[in-house]
Every structure is written in structure tokens, then in C-alpha cells.
Amino acid sequence: MTTHRRTVLKGLLGAGVSAVALKAPTVLAQTPVKIGLLTVKTGPLAQGGIQMEQGIVTFLKEKNYTLAGRKVDFISADTGGNPAGAKTKAQELIERDKVHVILGPLAAFELLAITDYVRDHQTPLISLAAAEDVTQRKANPFVIRPSATSAQCCHVMGDYAAKELKYKRAATISEDFAFGYEQMAGFQRVFEDNGGRVVKKLWPPLVTPDYTPYIAQIGNVDCVFNGFAGSNPVKFMRAYADLGLKGRIPLLAGWTAMDDALLRSLGDEAVGVISVAFYSADYGSESNKRFVAAMQKDYGVLPGGYSAGMYVAGQCVEAAVQKLGDAGPDGKTLAEALHQISVADTPRGPVKFDKYGNVVGDVFVRRCERKGGQLVNTVIKTYSNVSQFWTYDEKEFLANPVYSRDYPPAKYIE
């Protein structure tokens, strides 16, 4: 963290000089890779944003700030968690600091506010924000997503709930915004294609002091699938238990609702919840063991999807820079390279990308348990090579409208 401030100051003092240096064709192997991070370090969304920074810093430290023989200049920027802030900070990173690649931003509405901008300025962006269409109908050749689309994991949950858990009737509950709609739509589609019925869909607003009015509407169902994010899952699961539903109706969860990093904020109300996620701290790959150990040593926390996602993003940058070799990691070439790479060992398993820039990788089904006083998400099933299109035909999938509150239509609402 100290490095980035120094870098920026240096950049300020010698803005003209470094711009000239970048254009010089010689000593390419020594040209540093400039990585900018767009994250949220202040305001209500800071929790996920701070984890993102921890993830990428852990990766860069492990690599001693050197990727494929090039030094790394790392610059971190705080968007404050709003679209206008994301735009300004993207301008700062691209126009002032001339970064080669941007990691982030955190929230879908921040990503949507800057996708056109990064395309215009030909700067690759590796985001964890889940907005479906950014890698589908409005695919942007400069945007790469190593985490998952909103629905990517939820398709898996629909499959698991119908086939393995044999549930017939489900209620869904998630925040009233696109990430929620897309998650619930993905679950509903696969669940209903496998014989289940979603009989109730509830949409509390992002800011809801109390979930009781919504929980009170959950009727007679076999399971409740929730897709909350940020600090909301903590509130929701407590209210769910308080109102006596926990013992009666099993709770299923998307990745943000049962993220490993959130476990320290949860209590007994989370035990038994089954969740799907593109990352699990429990996963046994070599890089994940290193990553989890480093995160516990440096920050004393169990990493979750936000930090792991950024670690994987760092690995992708490394692979792409490696692939480019002597060719500099610039704009379009870097974006193209990022689409072509595959990384065999990441904390979330092998990773590659489809032509839309979205990850094809493992999705884990986990059950929350208490082990030695600590809550852990134990992996109970792994689905490999999951694409954003699930098992559906890509063309057909893209011909449909994007997942939303009204699509696919809920035919069985009671």
C-alpha cells in the first residue's frame, strides 16, 4: 500500500517524463506493468472493496511485485462506491497514471458506468462485478470477468436443488436490483427446467433495516433461495432464524450471501445453509493453500470471493503478460491475450475464458458447518467447467432477453 502512493507521487512529479519513457521502443522487457485497482474503501460498500485490495496485494506480494520478468506498478483508487466516483477514478488511472490494465470495480452499477469509457480508451478491465450483459449481449472486447456472471453459480444451484435435494417448491428472495434479478432468474430457469416450481419471488430494496415484512410473506415451500450481498445476508439470516423459519424451511444461498469472508460475522443461524460459489476457502489447490495461508497471516481473515477473485485476476494478468513476451502489455493486444489464456492452478481451480471474456471454471456447492467453534463452508459437490450459458445453447441463450425481474416469466407464482 505504501508503494502505490510513492508511485503516484513519482507519477505526478514526472508525468511528462514517464509518458515519453513509455513510448520508447527499447528495453521493453524492463517496462513495468502498470496495474490500477478500482475499489471501494470508504462508505457502505467498503467491506467488499477492502477485501479486493487485500486479494490483489497478497498476489503481488507473493510474486514480489514482478510478473513475467516485469516490475509491477500498482495503483489503488477509491471510488467511494458510486458510479460518478468510478468514472473519475477510471479517468485518473487511465489518463493520468496510464495503467495497462484495470482491476475492478466492485459494484455492477460502477461497472456499467465505465464500460463504454474503457472501450473508448482501449484499456482492458478485469472485473468481479456480475452484470450479465457485459459478457453477453453487450460483450465488450476490453472487459474480462474471472469470477462469474450473476447467474453462473445460480444455474448450478437450480440443478442441485431440483436433482439432488429433490425440492419441488421454492421461494426466492434477493435485493431489488439487477444482481438480484439475474441471480434469481438463473436459479428459476434451471430449477423449473428440472421440474421445480418457483412459487414466490420477493424483492426487498438494497437498503432494508428489517426483513420481517418480506420473510412474513414466505409461504408453504420446500426451500428459500436467497441472493443477498454486502452486509444484508447477516441481517437477513438473523431475521430468518428469529422468525422461526430456520428449522422449518431449508435456506439456500448465492455466493455473496454465504461468502467465506462473511462467516466471521455470522452465527448459528448460518449452520446448515447450502450455498453455491465460484470460490471456496476449503478448496485444496496448491495456489489456494498459499493464498489462504497468506491472507490469514497478513490480515487474520479467511478469504472470500472478492479477495480470491482479485488474486485470480492477478494470475490472469501474469499469464497474459507472459504470453505477450517482448510485446508490451498495451491496450488491445493485452485485451486479446487476456481472452486467450488459461491458468491451470488458481485458488478456484482451472480457469479459461469464453470468447465473450467470461470465465469457464468450477462452481462449488457447500454446506455451512461448525468445526471446532468456527463456521466453515464445506464443499459437498463440485461442478466443473461451468460456462455462463450453463448447458444451454449459446445462440439460443443470447437470443433471449437478458435475465431480469420479469424474465424468465414466473409461471407458478401463487
Binding site: 502512493r5 470508504t42 468514472k87 473519475t88 456499467l112 458506468a113 439487477a178
Partner: protein, 332 residues
């Protein structure tokens, strides 16, 4: 006399600096920051009409700002041209301002503040929850910037000059307004509402027009905002935006022309530039506000002017004393 000359020289220098800013700032990022300062300065000037000259503190102006932005963004999305969209946005915002005025002018002081706050929250609530109209949290993209008279505003300098022009127009209109009979009567309603009434002025009507005047420039700044960001989402309408703009006005100095501009510069620079170096910039911003209130309760601009005068007088007194006592024949 010398004060006036000082002022004209100062204004001339400021104009030259502003007009040549893209040349000496160099990097387009800083040009963009300058555009942001100017557009928020227009917003702060608009709010200052009410806060400073009418003595009416509004905590709902982000609502008007957002109405302009959403109206234009929705019309552009529906395929209307920039001129039609922008005109409609201004008209709609003026209508909304009139509704604000009718409701909020039932009261003054804290009552006015509370009514505007509640109205602002209602607009935020609609932007946020009526997703079928506003696209909720995901916001609306604005595909292109306009090209008035064929001038391209896509680049940072082009947009800066356009914003500067609007800013200067706003500033000039404020200067005219302050000196006008309307401005004088508005200040009268602020300081002596009962006497104004007794003198036959329609206090309510004067305040009503002040809200419309403020609403007009708020709409213009809202348009600049969406063209700058090419995006709008409900956060624009939030209470924190209203509070931020109010803080700009108060910290710079209400009822001054320069105060809101200085306030806008402080907040924008803290948020966008200083935040790159100081992780706890919110804390620093809060401390700055508390310090301003503790040491310059009437704001930075009037406070600095006072400090400057005091310093100048002290220095001159010392100089006079120093010059006059040993060689009295040279004393003036």
C-alpha cells in the same frame, strides 16, 4: 479605488487562467477535474441563491438535479435529440421547482429545510424503487455528448470549455441578480420579511421566483453532470448529494459569488484528487468542515477576506508606525 483596480486585475487574471487551463494543466485527467469543479460550482451557485440570498436552506436540491438528469437521459434513450431532451429537462425541472416552492414555502428556517429534505427523499425513493421507469440501481447510460454548432465535446478540453462557458454565464447571471432590484428585495425578505410585507412586497412571490431561478441553474448543472459522466443512477438524488452541495455553499461562504465556487473546488479536489493519496479523505474533509466552522463560521471566502484585511491593516499600521516615528518629515 485601488480595491476596484485590484479586483479587476484579479478577475482578468482568473479569466485568463481559466481560459488557458487546458494548455498549462496538460494531462486530460486534471482538465476533467476542472470541468467537475465548474459543473458543481454551477450547482452550488444555484443553491446559494436560496441559502445565501433568500435565507432558505434546502436539503432537497439533489432531487431537482436528478430530475433534470433523468428527464434528459430518458428522453435521449427514447431517441430524442439533445436540444429537445435538454429543453424538456429544464422545463420539467422548473415545474418540479415550482411544486417544491409551493410546498416548502409554507415555512421558512428549519421547516423549509425539512420539507425540501422530505421532497428530495421522495424523488430519490422514486429513482431508486420505480425501476421500470428509471432502471433502478443500474442507472441509465447516456450514449453521446451533444455537439452544439458542430463543436465536438467528446474530448476533455472541448467539454471543459463548454462547461467554463456555462459556468461564466451562471456566474454573470448571479452577479446581475445580486445587483438587481429582485436580488435586493430577495435579501430584504431574508433580513426583514415582516417589514418587506408591510412595504407592500409580496414576500411569497419573491421567494417563489428565487426557487425557480435556483431550479433553473440546478437543472443546467444536472445536464452538465449527465453529459460529463454519461451516466445517471439514484445515488445522484440521495440525501448525501444534497448535503455535499450544501456543505460546498456553507464552507465557501454563503451570499458571496466566490464562496460556492471555492467550496465546490474543495469538495471535488478532496474527493477526486486527494483521495488518491489519503485513504481517510472523508475524515479529512469532515475535519476541514469542522475547522472552517470553528474559525471562520461565515465561510472560507468571507473569513479569508477578513483575515486578509486584518493582516493588511496590521502590517500597514506597523509600517506606518515604523516609517513615521524616526523620520517624521516623510510621514504622509
Amino acid at each position: 479605488m485601488s480595491g476596484n483596480r485590484f479586483r479587476s486585475v484579479g478577475v482578468a487574471i482568473a479569466l485568463v487562467l481559466l481560459a488557458t487551463l487546458p494548455l498549462w494543466v496538460g494531462n486530460s485527467y486534471y482538465i476533467n477535474v476542472a470541468s467537475q469543479i465548474l459543473l458543481f460550482a454551477v450547482f452550488a451557485l444555484a443553491l446559494n441563491v436560496l441559502v445565501g440570498y433568500a435565507g432558505l436552506v434546502s436539503l432537497g436540491h439533489a432531487g431537482l438535479f436528478a430530475i433534470a438528469g433523468y428527464a434528459a437521459a430518458l428522453m435521449l434513450q427514447a431517441g430524442y435529440g439533445h436540444l429537445a431532451a435538454d429543453t424538456a429537462a429544464v422545463v420539467i425541472t422548473l415545474a418540479a421547482s415550482a411544486i417544491f416552492a409551493v410546498l416548502a414555502l409554507r415555512s421558512t428556517g428549519i421547516g423549509f429545510l425539512m420539507i425540501t429534505l422530505a421532497l428530495g427523499q421522495i424523488i430519490w425513493g422514486i429513482a431508486y424503487r420505480w425501476a421500470s421507469l428509471t432502471n433502478g440501481d443500474n442507472g441509465i447510460n447516456v450514449a453521446t455528448r451533444p455537439a452544439p454548432f458542430g463543436i465536438n465535446l467528446t474530448g476533455a478540453p472541448g467539454f471543459y470549455f463548454a462547461t467554463l462557458l456555462v459556468f461564466l454565464l451562471a456566474l454573470a447571471s448571479m452577479a446581475v441578480f445580486v445587483r438587481s432590484p429582485f436580488g435586493a428585495s430577495l435579501r430584504g425578505t431574508r433580513d426583514q420579511p415582516l417589514r418587506m410585507n408591510a412595504l407592500g412586497y409580496n414576500v411569497w412571490l419573491i421567494r417563489f421566483f428565487a426557487v425557480l431561478f435556483s431550479g433553473f441553474w440546478t437543472a443546467v448543472s444536472g445536464l452538465l453532470f449527465i453529459y460529463y459522466n454519461q451516466f445517471i443512477s439514484p445515488q445522484v438524488a440521495a440525501l448525501t448529494t444534497s448535503a455535499e452541495i450544501l456543505l460546498m455553499v456553507i464552507s465557501g461562504g454563503t451570499a458571496t459569488l466566490l464562496g460556492p465556487v471555492v467550496g465546490a473546488a474543495i469538495v471535488v479536489v478532496m474527493k477526486n484528487v486527494v483521495s488518491a493519496y489519503i485513504e481517510r479523505w472523508n475524515l479529512v474533509l469532515g475535519v476541514i468542515f469542522v475547522l472552517i466552522i470553528s474559525f471562520m463560521p461565515d465561510g472560507l471566502v468571507p473569513g479569508s477576506v477578513r483575515l486578509w484585511r486584518w493582516g493588511w491593516q496590521t502590517v500597514r499600521a506597523r509600517l506606518d508606525g515604523w516609517i513615521s516615528s524616526p523620520v517624521e518629515e516623510h510621514g504622509r
